[in-house]
Symmetry: C2
Subunit: 456 residues, 2 copies
């Protein structure tokens, strides 16, 4: 794939809106623009930083849409290449027709993230910044957006670069020792190298520590609602969302599919899942729903387990609870206003609270309890800051292993150990280099950009 | 509401994409732009038709997003007013932050369609063209998009204007006759006026005749799938869509809710509805589903009634069919490959065809049968052309009534009748004037623009 072939894609979100954009970037952009766009001025002759009024026309000259044509001259564009943006009406059919026309005129359909990939390849941003573009677009909360923007502006890259440069310097220092006969070296050489490595290790650990928060901000915390049929799960789901998303009836087994919705609590996006009631059932559809509910409880960050306290406590509830992790579970004793005289919640190691969801009582307490569980991952009192992603973490963990090995060799001292320490540091640098993209290969780029939307 | 206050809205579709736009229009736009946008150049000093690179900042100076700022100087803008467009990252959270910042800096949230309403009030387009903007955005098929574009370019306005001008001329002619003593008038005056009115009437009827097609293109034809449980309704639904949208099991009563999806057949958008199987049931949820299925069959353009022909024909099927309109119904005899020896389809006035949906046999025939039913409303062989909307039709019907009255009076002849004919024509012109917006009042504009999306 050459970076000079010309790519096109719809750059605005799918669906209906006032305005939509088709972006075209690459060496053939002016030829294509002149062919498909008719305005007072010819696109290929227009100055960068200007836009033209006109229309996009089909090959037979009939009009496809009224449009603006924005002119970007390399390197002053998102990709760093010559680029135009055709701004037409924001209807899916119209935009697809404009895109189709661009493809017929010689562009090819852009891959997901390919515009940003070109920006990276043309040195407009490093890989961590490129990833921040996707994070910013996908941000589900203010806090997540701020973290992504700081990353986009280089806040995270700076820390990675400092770590990289520090290790690079130490690696060079270690290699210098190899040029000396051993007893010519000052006595404190290895201890000093060790201190430097310790400092780098500390920086690496600080970066790694942002991972939990990074995951919660990017993916949202998964909160799964569980319990026996008719405990009030769908009512709780609707109460948390403040809407009537799930169908609520008095009929046990109303919810069969997993229903998922998002909302933001204290700046952290939550993905909240309503599940089928847990019970023995002959119904195949319901059995599948219950199987899915159990599977989701394993991967959830927080499980809300609902118990109907207007009934005597059931052995089944106790059985289900034993399968859950008390640290990640909040037990909600619902229908507390008509509590059964024999009801008693017997499992002391679970956090529990009371609610009467029909009247809304207990919802605020429950939100506070969820927020408290989230605090384990996110310091909600600290201002939003750039946080590492899973890809960063995996590479940092690789680097960490190498760094620990290098540190061990440096403690040992001597030429042999120094040579091995240098090798380990090279390997650590190789991993770290892939974070910002100082070092990259096609597979790495494919992996990074495949999670982008088409058109970015 | 003054047209000089400054409005702002997100102009791109909701959801995630590469790029999103916040549009701001009105007298305070430069003050707001200078306050919230920092680039190399100051927006208020930049030339129209240019765009600036920079960032949108919060009141405390922190960055909200990187952005472009497009400069539109009145009257060269969509609204005809001074306008900017801030093009940021296409994430919902980021765009809402940019919008919020605009509002804090003095803009107010735009109403649905308010940018287009200003374009209308500032003489950039008439009301029929303004409506075409929404039609183009909402177009669900190529044919609908072409029809909307022709309307946007004035194709429909021209016909309305010709009708209006013709009637205006006739009205003036009639009023002229009032200045004469009756026996001074040439003998052929009233017959000639009658001919002119007949011509106008013909034009009006031609316009009215595009209504069926207009409705189908704008709203899509509603196709409802009905039948007894397990006839294969959800299988047919999925086969028409070419996807596994509906859950299919061998369990009768799997589909409870109405499931709706769209697809395009021969340029006409179809909204296809899968419904609950028709049967006697104790289940409240299923009963509600069946009630809804029946309600939908009444308003559908086409009903597909599925019968399981691997079973002897049932009295229930015959009973259900008797409630449907043969002109709008296609009976599908499914499971034809294992047809029951005693199966016989007895109701001869219904069009029927055979299928074996599990293998896909019969789907192409069924699509052809649907297209044939659609031909009643749309001449699929004619090229796409602008077609009237329901609002246009209602006003045309009003005008038609007046026109018929006027024609009657003109046939009668004489001063008294001429005066009444003139009154009727004024009333017809009043109705027609509201189509293109020569005549308008607030309620009319509210009605037209309320169906727009916000940001257009």
């Amino acid at each position: 794939m050459s970076t000079t072939d010309t790519i096109a894609a719809i750059a605005t979100p799918p669906g209906q809106g006032g305005v939509g954009i088709v972006r075209i970037s690459g060496s053939k952009v002016w030829k294509i623009a002149d062919e498909i766009f008719q305005g007072l001025e010819t696109p290929s002759k227009a100055k960068g930083g200007t836009f033209l009024h006109g229309k996009v026309t089909a090959a037979d000259g009939t009009q496809i849409d009224e449009a603006l044509c924005l002119i970007f001259r390399a390197p002053k564009s998102y990709t760093g290449e010559d680029t135009i943006e055709l701004q037409g009406h924001g209807g899916p059919v119209v935009l697809k027709k404009i895109l189709r026309r661009c493809l017929d005129a010689g562009a090819r359909m852009a891959e997901p993230g390919e515009f940003t990939k070109r920006a990276f390849l043309n040195g407009k941003m490093d890989l961590v910044q490129a990833e921040a573009v996707a994070d910013l677009i996908h941000a589900q909360s203010d806090r997540a957006a701020k973290a992504a923007l700081e990353q986009l502006e280089g806040g995270l890259s700076k820390q990675f670069n400092a770590l990289y440069d520090g290790l690079m310097e130490t690696a060079a220092d270690i290699e210098t020792t190899l040029d000396f006969v051993e007893d010519e070296l000052p006595e404190d050489v290895f201890p000093n190298l060790g201190k430097k490595l310790d400092a780098s290790f500390q920086t690496l650990e600080t970066l790694l520590a942002t991972w939990d928060e990074g995951r919660l901000l990017r993916e949202g915390a998964r909160v799964v609602i569980m319990g026996r049929p008719n405990a009030g799960k769908s009512t709780l789901f609707n109460a948390l969302l403040g809407s009537d998303r799930a169908i609520v009836t008095a009929i046990a087994g109303t919810t069969r599919d997993i229903i998922e919705e998002s909302f933001v609590l204290d700046g952290v996006p939550l993905r909240i899942l309503d599940t089928a009631g847990l019970r023995e059932t002959e119904c195949l559809i319901e059995q599948e729903g219950i199987r899915r509910a159990r599977a989701h409880s394993v991967s959830a960050d927080i499980a809300l387990y609902l118990i109907d306290s207007s009934q005597p406590v059931s052995a089944e509830d106790q059985e289900h609870l034993l399968k859950l992790d008390p640290k990640r579970t909040v037990v909600v004793l619902n229908k507390a206003d008509s509590r059964h005289p024999n009801f008693q919640f017997p499992i002391s190691n679970f956090q529990s609270l009371e609610s009467s969801l029909i009247s809304g009582a207990g919802v605020a307490d429950l939100k506070a309890a969820i927020a408290a569980k989230l605090e384990a991952g996110v310091n909600l009192n600290a201002p939003a800051h750039a946080v590492i992603s899973e890809r960063h973490r995996n590479l940092l963990e690789l680097a960490k292993v190498e760094l620990i090995s290098a540190r061990g060799q440096v403690s040992e001292g001597g030429e042999e150990a120094a040579a091995q320490a240098a090798d380990h540091l090279r390997a650590a640098l190789e991993a770290l280099g892939q974070v910002t993209g100082r070092v990259y290969h096609n597979e790495l780029l494919d992996n990074v950009f495949s999670r982008f939307c088409i058109g970015k």
